[in-house]
């Protein structure tokens, strides 16, 4: 480890390591954040969910989007439409997008996450879940 020579250097290191705990800090405030869940089961990964997920994280980091968090989940059951992602805005019903490509992912970030406008490619909810 190189020695930290000034307060400015310390601040720079903080910016570099911020991502280490960023996800955990977001967890503290999860109810107020837009949650993006990528289905990362075998079917999803085989269809490229991992790339989509990494792309979304990198894109959101580079755009400096702070009010959203990308996390992963298991198979949502839409194996015919992988990769699928679920976007939940606080206080609203979750929306699921199917067959997400990088272009679609960008569109979702630009329109849905930033502006709150839905984009094409939504899988209509045909089932109900049991809430505890």
């Amino acid at each position: 480890m190189a020695k930290i020579k000034s307060f400015e250097e310390l601040k720079k290191i903080k910016d570099q390591v911020q991502s280490k705990v960023g996800l955990r800090e977001k967890g503290e405030n999860i109810d107020n954040l837009i949650q993006i869940r990528v289905a990362m089961a075998t079917c999803g990964i085989a269809s490229g969910a991992r790339e989509i997920m990494n792309y979304m994280i990198d894109e959101m980091t580079s755009q400096g989007i702070e009010n959203a968090v990308v996390t992963q989940t298991g198979c949502m059951g839409y194996c015919y439409a992988e990769p699928t992602i679920e976007v939940t805005t606080p206080g609203k019903e979750p929306v699921i997008y199917g067959d997400v490509t990088k272009e679609k992912a960008k569109e979702i970030i630009d329109e849905h996450v930033i502006k709150g406008e839905l984009v094409d490619g939504i899988i209509p909810m045909t089932h109900k879940t049991i809430d505890q």
Binding site: R24, E28, Q72, G74, C75
Partner: protein, 597 residues
């Protein structure tokens, strides 16, 4: 670089570690690797989450899933279900005892709802062995700010204005202490961190050092800057091996980053920290005794003045603060004195960490704003008394404190109120007692502790505590007389007035406060020869009810002294002369035919 989308935090405080949490971590890592998810899921060890009652705890973020009482064998299921399939492992979720519903989100648990974590801000959130994670949480920024943007006087002013008071128990204003030490000129000054946590049932300081050691390291450096000291010493008991290990690692990493050592952050300020191990003597929590122990002398207190701020370690100006006090300092500097002083009650600012122990449902580590009532702590956060029993008292302040009763449940907890109630804040141990606890016996327990821990230097403490515990022994043995009560009171007063240090001066508190609040119990022991709580064995009789006994002979078989006789299917009797009051028959009887009287 790995883009983590999920963090699995495994508690690795002493409590959870002793329940194999290291193996849980290893297994989780193994199964995450098998699932080929090492770039998405990070498994890491953190400090204490506080919910020790249900440890080991595994918390998954960002969704705040809180798995309790996890075993190493559960790791496979957690990875397969939660990570791969996205389903929560319901059998490991916490079940709220009041609603009997599963709570998956830790933020919705009653245990956490009323807490405000300042000193524990990083405990259970970061990896204590990773300095980068501490820096990511604004770590060492307060030090950087102090060194580059503030004068030592500015730092002292902020700490003074914040209203922070010593968390070791005394409650002396921290800023004032720093100011006095800063004004005494000397060629060398010292900052000492008192990590000699000794109250029975207390583990606040240990948890802070295990979960967030850098916060203490940073605060000591800040203190050093403010008072002009270049050497810091941590006096820590050798029986805290994990805290020592984490602290040593923290100091080493800070040195490598140049955050300790010469010319910190290029400002010309030098500061370094060394550890001194204590042998675990209660009296060494007293600052003068602590300093003598560090110098290699016997751990005995000396009279004050001179205060350590004038003449402390090797006769040099020394500032001694407790672990929790230090842990508050970096945040105060970053967020400001106004922020801190807006929390808490009029004269007690900020929060206090308590170690909840005893007959309470949620044993653990909590942090609440000063001024929170005892009721909120015991019933809302602590989840009430174990096994649905009745609350009787809570002991605060350890052997120096006293008991608070049902009448005090709505008292806001702060330094002044606790003293007014005959107890004290102490370092933050809270031992909850229920209807089965005998108060004279509790007082006896604490007096035996102080008797053992008395250093022996002054007579009032050395002999006085011995005499007090002898008197209490007589009472709990059923040999007490009314004049013993007067003697207890008189002796207590003498010890309080004449003992040399805090240990002796406060030693009679458990006696006085239990006599004040539970006078009837003392009388019952002496006049009626009866222990109302049914705890003092010499005052106890086990009696078989003729009406209820069916003569099943189960009690006969468990009695170790053959004190029970009778024929099958006929009521049995206990020979009181032979009975050793072990209670085996009482526990065995299925017909509630045996009673304690």
């Amino acid at each position: 670089m790995a883009n983590y989308t999920m963090h699995m935090l495994v508690c690795s405080g002493t409590g959870c570690k002793s329940a194999e949490s290291d193996l849980i971590t290893a297994n989780l890592e193994k199964y995450v690797a098998e699932a080929n998810m090492t770039d998405e899921v990070q498994v890491l060890k953190t400090g204490c989450f506080g919910f020790c009652e249900k440890g080991p705890v595994v918390k998954i973020l960002p969704d705040n899933t809180f798995y309790v009482q996890v075993t190493p064998d559960d790791a496979e299921e957690i990875v397969n279900e939660h990570i791969i399939k996205g389903r929560k492992v319901e059998r490991l979720l916490f079940v709220d005892p009041k609603t009997e519903k599963m709570v998956s989100d830790s933020k919705k648990m009653d245990f956490y709802k009323k807490q405000l974590r300042i000193a524990l801000r990083n405990c259970g959130l970061i990896d204590p062995d990773n300095i980068d994670e501490y820096i990511a949480r604004d770590g060492y920024h307060a030090l950087g700010m102090a060194l580059t943007e503030m004068t030592p006087q500015d730092v002292i002013k902020v700490v003074k204005d914040s209203g922070l008071r010593g968390r070791g128990g005394g409650g002396f204003p921290t800023g004032l202490k720093w100011e006095i030490a800063s004004k005494n000129d000397a060629d060398q000054k010292y900052v000492v961190c008192n990590a000699d946590e000794g109250d029975p049932g207390a583990f606040m300081d240990r948890s802070i050092l295990e979960g967030d050691p850098h916060s203490v390291v940073e605060a000591m450096a800040i203190c050093g800057y403010s008072m002009g000291a270049t050497i810091g010493k941590v006096y820590i008991r050798a029986e805290y091996p994990l805290a020592i290990k984490r602290l040593e690692k923290a100091i080493e990493d800070a040195r490598e980053y140049g955050l300790l050592g010469k010319d910190i952050m290029g400002t010309g300020f030098d500061f370094d920290i060394e550890l001194t191990f204590g042998a675990g003597a209660f009296v060494c929590g007293e600052e003068t005794a602590l300093i003598h122990s560090m110098e290699g002398e016997r751990g005995e207190p000396t009279t004050k003045p001179p205060f350590p701020a004038e003449s402390g370690y090797w006769g040099k100006p020394t500032n001694v603060n407790n672990v929790e006090t230090f842990a508050n300092v970096p945040v105060i500097l970053l967020k400001g004195a106004d922020w801190f002083s807006s929390i808490g009650s009029e004269k007690s600012k900020g929060t206090k960490v308590f170690a909840l122990a005893g007959k309470i449902n949620n044993v653990g580590l909590i942090e609440v704003p000063m001024g929170t009532t005892l009721r909120e702590v015991i019933y809302d956060i602590g989840g009430g008394i174990k096994d649905g029993k009745k609350f009787k008292a809570v002991q605060t302040g350890g052997p120096s404190g006293g008991c608070l009763t049902v009448d005090d449940l709505d008292t806001p907890i702060d330094y002044e109120n606790l003293i007014a109630k005959g107890s004290m804040m102490g370092s933050g141990g809270m031992i909850v007692m229920d209807e089965d606890d005998c108060m004279p016996a509790v007082a006896k327990f604490y007096l035996e502790f102080t008797e053992e821990e008395s250093c022996g230097k002054c007579t009032p403490c050395r002999v006085g505590t011995k005499r007090l515990s002898e008197l209490l022994e007589l009472i709990t043995d059923g040999k007490g007389k009314m004049e013993h009560l007067d003697e207890l009171k008189r002796l207590s007063r003498v010890i309080k007035d004449t003992a040399l240090c805090g240990l002796g001066q406060t030693a009679p508190n458990p006696v006085l406060s239990t006599m004040e609040a539970f006078w009837d119990e003392y009388i019952a022991h002496i006049k009626d020869g009866r222990c109302p709580a049914g705890q003092c064995t010499n005052l106890l009789q086990y009696i078989i009810s003729e009406a209820k006994c069916v003569g099943c002979t189960a009690c006969v078989r468990v009695c170790p002294t053959n004190a029970i006789t009778g024929t099958v299917k006929k009521p049995h009797v206990i020979d009181q002369a032979k009975c050793i009051k072990c209670g085996a028959c009482y526990d065995k009887c299925k017909f509630e035919a045996i009673s304690k009287q």
